[in-house]
């Protein structure tokens, strides 16, 4: 009886969450005469293929629309924003985690909060800024503005990630005679690689999803990104080509969904620093990998200390971000 309720509930959530995607799938491959039957005709079941599936909408999408162009534009913007974000956010995250001492934490929090300032508050001043710079209706405007969303978040991400990498590897290199700068240039990059991967995935998904700035800055169809072009430019006047529209939505969703799922298996917490659980209960795949590579100390919570915490005598606040902001069991127990 309990199992039945469980399966029923699970099925309910799957139907609710997945139904629009099923609908994309069905619409993509349906013939028009199967698609456009009014919903008041109860004898025609819209949930299934009443006629054989067709590829005509897919051919229309790839052959007669600007969709391939939008995919290229999107990838170009992704590549440029990834380069900028990695170049700016990774050193900053390292600086806050390893070099800034006790101020790092606060400054990291401050930088993270700018991530909460939404595009819908900034698009008006940005539209003026972009036209001042002469960048209106260009991909360059997106490449300039998107890092304002990725840099704050990724700086925070790299900072949190480094807190979970044992400091001892770098310390050992310094004992071996490396200067601090040499450690940063030669030792640290190897340790940060999994963190950089997270930054790349986050930037990729964010650029794929962004809509507001693209809508504000881009006006001509051939400059659009996928998330803008599909809902705005595939609709010709009042004519909706629902087959092609849903095909575009489907083909864009699939790679994103795969990336998300691969990633959430490895790093269950990458959405937000606030989702990090305690490290016992929620072992973090990437951290474990980094640890294996470094193979220094067993990675209990107690060894998750940055040098800043070490220098100040490992004060009780601890270095692990999970402890700091999170909801480790001890906090929730002490809260009445």
């Amino acid at each position: 009886m309990k199992r039945v309720a469980l399966y029923a509930a699970a099925l309910g959530f799957v139907v609710f969450a997945g139904f629009p995607f099923y609908w994309m799938l069905v619409t993509t491959f349906k013939q028009n005469r199967d698609l456009y039957v009014g919903a008041s005709d109860l004898s025609h079941i819209p949930w299934i293929f009443n006629d054989p599936p067709t590829l005509e909408h897919v051919k229309l999408l790839f052959g007669q629309t600007d969709f391939p162009r939008w995919v290229l534009n999107t990838l170009l913007v992704v590549a440029a924003v990834v380069v900028i974000t990695v170049a700016v956010a990774v050193p900053a995250g390292y600086s806050l985690a390893r070099l800034a001492g006790r101020w790092g934490e606060r400054m990291g929090m401050g930088i993270f909060f700018t991530y909460l300032i939404p595009p819908t508050l900034l698009f008006v001043p940005f539209s003026r800024l972009v036209s001042l710079l002469g960048l209106q209706n260009s991909l360059a405007s997106l490449i300039l503005i998107y890092p304002t969303m990725t840099i704050p978040f990724c700086t925070w991400l790299v900072m949190g990630f480094l807190r979970s990498v044992p400091w001892e590897i770098e310390e050992q290199a310094m004992i071996d005679g490396y200067s601090r700068l040499a450690v940063i240039l030669k030792v640290a990059p190897r340790l940060i690689v999994p963190g950089i991967l997270t930054v790349v995935v986050f930037t990729f998904t964010l650029v794929m999803q962004e809509f507001v700035y693209a809508l504000t800055f881009i006006s001509s169809v051939e400059k659009m990104t996928v998330s803008l072009g599909v809902p705005i430019a595939l609709v010709r006047g009042d004519v909706y080509h629902w087959g092609a529209l849903m095909a575009a939505a489907l083909f864009t969703s699939i790679p994103l969904a795969v990336v998300y799922n691969l990633f959430i298996d490895r790093e269950p917490t990458f959405h937000h620093p606030f989702t990090r659980g305690g490290c016992h209960e929620n072992p973090n795949g990437i951290v474990l990998r980094a640890h294996r590579r470094g193979s220094v100390h067993p990675l209990g919570c107690s060894s998750r200390r940055g040098p800043a915490a070490g220098r100040t005598g490992g004060q009780a606040r601890g270095g692990g971000d999970a402890h700091h902001y999170g909801f480790h069991k001890r906090h929730s127990l002490h809260q009445p």
Binding site: A87, V88, L96, P118, P125
Partner: protein, 298 residues
């Protein structure tokens, strides 16, 4: 280790150099535009020219006397609160389901995360098709089940359109909230749950009197992010209804876009967007408090 004093070992210098590009980006392209957003709201700037004149509170006076704006303000609050209530219920329930092990769980989780992975604008266009006035599969299903006798013009009637917007926002955000609540559930000490079982507490008693109170901080965080994502979202409403029918379903971001960008009245657009600030300030304040409490608790 002997301390050396060359430049290559000065942590403060290295730290400053490595942090500067990020700080510069954040200050120049988030901080300055943020201030500019507020300054613009007191100006008569338009998109056509680069002229910039002081308008005092004229923009604010104009929008506060505008029923469309007041409606948008109310809609923003209704959509945000309504969708977050739904999110809390759905996420808490979904977390209860997904903490259990069952066959097909990997697939179920894959599907559950889809709404969060798909771009907002593409999800919104799919829902537009689902709510279509002639071809709505929801109407067909309700009629086929004998639950609907008239016809639902989902995006054509203000109240139904708002409901549709709330549904889409909740659909989009509850997977994210579920992930957070699951993380919170896994950090509840097993001893407490076991003690409750030993004391004879059943499932519902355990849920409402043991687990939910312990989950409160986590659920709060999920709701705070949900508030930001919903109140400041432009894509869902812009694509689903475009603010229509007859400007009844605008929210602050879509109205700001319509007036500021499409209508080229930057000053008024900025003034409308500024009304998002109360939502954001409440959220930022609550988060800082939560973070501090966690800090003190440690």
């Amino acid at each position: 280790m002997t301390p050396r004093r060359t430049l290559a070992d000065r942590e403060d210098v290295l730290g400053g150099v490595m942090l500067t590009p990020a700080l510069a980006y954040v200050i120049l392209l988030v901080g300055v535009p943020f201030v500019l957003a507020i300054v613009l709201s007191f100006s008569d700037a338009t998109a056509g020219s680069l002229r910039f004149g002081w308008a005092g509170v004229r923009n604010y006076a104009a929008i506060l006397a505008d029923p469309i704006f007041l409606r948008a303000l109310r809609n923003t609050a209704v959509v945000t609160i309504g969708s977050q209530l739904l999110v809390v219920v759905l996420a808490t329930a979904a977390a209860q389901v997904f903490r259990a092990t069952f066959r097909g769980k990997r697939f179920a989780r894959f599907v559950l995360l889809l709404p969060w992975a798909v771009p907002v604008s593409l999800a919104a266009i799919a829902w537009t098709w689902i709510f279509d006035s002639t071809f709505s599969v929801i109407n067909w299903t309700l009629k086929a089940a004998g639950l609907l006798h008239g016809w639902l013009y989902w995006l054509g009637e203000p109240a139904l359109a708002l409901l549709a917007i709330i549904i889409v926002q909740a659909w989009r955000i509850f997977p994210f909230a579920t992930v957070i609540v699951l993380a919170g559930l896994s950090s509840i000490p097993q001893e407490i749950v076991e003690a409750a079982i030993v004391d004879g507490a059943g499932f519902w008693r355990r849920l409402f009197q043991v687990e939910l109170p312990l989950l409160l901080p986590v659920v709060t965080v999920a709701v705070l992010f949900g508030v930001v994502y919903t109140a400041t979202d432009l894509g869902v409403v812009y694509i689903l209804t475009g603010g229509g029918p007859a400007n009844t379903t605008h929210v602050l971001p879509t109205l700001a876009f319509q007036r500021g960008i499409l209508g080229a009245d930057l000053g008024q657009g900025a003034a409308i967007a500024v009304f998002l600030l109360p939502f954001l300030i409440v959220v930022a304040f609550a988060m800082l408090r939560l973070a501090r409490r966690a800090e003190v608790g440690a």
